[in-house]
Amino acid sequence: MPEASTRPASLHRPGGWQSVRRNRPAMLSLGFLSLLALLALLGPPLMPEALKTTSEGAFLPPLSPGAHAPVTHLLGTDKNGQDLCYRLLSGARVSLGVGLSGAAISLVIGTLYGMVSGFAGGRVDALLMRTVDLLYAVPRILFIMIFIAAFDGLLKDAVDGLRLHAQASGWLWLEDTARRLLPYSKIVVMVLSLGLVEWLSMARLIRGQVLVLRELPFVTAARAMGQSGWRILRLHLLPNLSTLILTYLTLTIPAVILDESFLSFLGLGIEDPAASWGSLLKDGAQVINPVESKWWLLAFPAALMSLSLLALNFLGDGLRDAFDPRSGD
C-alpha cells in the first residue's frame, strides 16, 4: 500500500459520508434498522396486556382472534398461547441488545489492544500480535462455552445471594427485583462472553492502521511538543480511527447476533421466559413436522432475523466502501 503515506487524510476522505448517503441499499438498511429498533423499544410496552401473557389459545394461526380477550394475534401464537408478534419484538430487544453491547465490548478491547500494540511497536507489538495468533488457533466456540460456564454460575449466585439477603432484611422490592432479574442474568453472561471472544480481528485491523498513522508528520509533531503516548493515542490517533471503528462495529454486530442465536438455538443461550430470535427459532423448529405445519413459528422469526442481518451487512459494507482505506476506491 505505497499510496497510504502520500494520502495522510485517507481515513477522512471528504466524500465519505456523502458516498454512504448515496448508497441506496445502505440507506434503505439504515431505515429498516431504525424502524425495527423503534418497534422493539416502543412496541412491547404499548401492546395490550392480553397479548403478553400465556393463554389457552395455543398454536393459533396468524390473524386469528384471541381465545378470551378481544385482541388479534397478528402473527399467531406459540405453544403457550403467547402472541408471536410480542415475542418477536421482545426477542428483537434481546438479540439487537446483545449484538450491540457484545460488539461494543469487543470493540473497546480490540481498539485498546490494537492501538497499544501498533503504537508501542517493536517487542511489545510482536508479543501482543503473537498472542492474538495463538488465540486464533483455539476454536472460538470453546472460549465462548468456557466463559459462559464460568460466568453463568457466578452471576446467578450473585443475584440469588442478593435476593436471599433482601429476603432476610425484609426489603420486599429488592427481593422482587432480584427474582425478576434472575432469568435475565443469562443475557448479561452472553454479552460478556461474546464480547470477550470477538475482539481478535478488530485488534489486528486497528493495529495495522495505527502502524500507518504513527509515521505521519502530525504524530511526530505531537511528540516533538512533548505529548505523552497516551495523549497522542487519545487526541490524535483515536479520532482518525473513528470511522474505521464505526464500520467494523456495524459488521461485528451481525456476527455477535449470529453467535448468540446459534447458542440459543442449541439451547445454551437465552432461557425462558426471556426470548431471542435464536430461541424462538429453536421453539419453531421443535414443532415443525410435515403433517401439521405450524409454519408461522419458523417463518416469521427466520424472516425477521435474516432481514436484520442482511440490513446490518449492507450498512456495514456501505460504510466500509466509504471509509476503509484498504477497500480500494
Binding site: P139, A149, G153, A285
Partner: protein
Amino acid sequence: MLTFLLRRLISSALVLFFAVSLTFLLTRMLPGGPFDREKTGSARVQEALQEKYKLNGTLWQQYTSYLADLARLDLRVSTKYRDWSVAEILGQKLPASLKLGGIAFVLASTLGVLLGMIAAMHRDTPVDWAAMVGALVAISIPTFITGPFLIAIFALWLRWLPVGGWGSVSHLILPSVCLAAPYIAYVARLMRNSLLDVLRSDFLRTARAKGLTETQAVARHAVKVAILPVVTYLGPLAAHLLTGSMVVESVFNISGAGSLFVNSIQNRDVFPLCGAVIVYCALLVFFNLVVDLLYSLLDKRIRLHA
C-alpha cells in the same frame, strides 16, 4: 527451504502445546467436575474416580501428568463415556465430519472463486449485482435457517433427497450445500474484490495491449495474483470445515465431530475436548503451512522465511 520447514515445525508444536494447555487448564478450572452427577456421590467414590481417571492432586500435577501421557501419544479415556478412549471417539466421529467438510471445502473454493471471477469481469452489471446481493444473503442467513429450509423444499416437498441420516451419496448433498453456502459467498466476495484490484494494475494493461482478450488476460495473468488473498482465507477455513459443524450435523441428524466441543464442555469431559482441540490445531497449522507453500509457488517473488 529445509530450515523454513524445520522452523515451522517448531512453531507449530508450540501452537499445539499452547492450545492444549489453555484448554486443559481452563476446563479444569471451571466450576463443576466430571463426576458431579455420580449417583453414589460420597467423597470416597469421587476420590476413587478422580484417581482412576488421573484427575487427582493439584491442577499442576494433573496438567504435567497429562502432558507426559500426551508425549507418549496417549490421549486418555473419556470420563463421560467410560468404555471409550479418546482415540476411539475421534476415530468414530471424525470420518463423517471430514467427508462432509471436505466436500463443503471443495464447493466453497471452486464455486466461490468462479463466482467472484464472473462478478469482477462483469463489474457494475446486473450479473455482478445479482452475484454480490446473493452472496450477502447467503452470509446473512444462518445455517440453522437454511438447513430446515432446504429440507422442507428438497426432502419434504419435492422428495428428491432424504431428510437426514448417513450412508449414500444422496445423504451428502443437502448438508454439504448447507455447510458450504456462506463460505462460497465469502470466497466469492474476496475473489471479486481482489480481482478488481488486479484488473486495474499495469501488467494487465500490458497483457491487453499485446492483444489478449479479457478472458485470456484474466486466465493467464490476473487469476494467479488475485487468488492469493483467497488462498490465505482458505487455510483456516479448511481446518474449520473439516472438524465438523454442530448445527449442520444436528439438523441433518449426522453423528460427527461437530458436537464434540460443546458436549465435552457441558460434561466437563476434558480429555475428548483436548483431543478435538489437538485435531483442530494440527489441521490449522498444517493448512497454514500449505498456504505458505502455495504462496511461493503462485508468486515467485515471495521467499519463505518463518
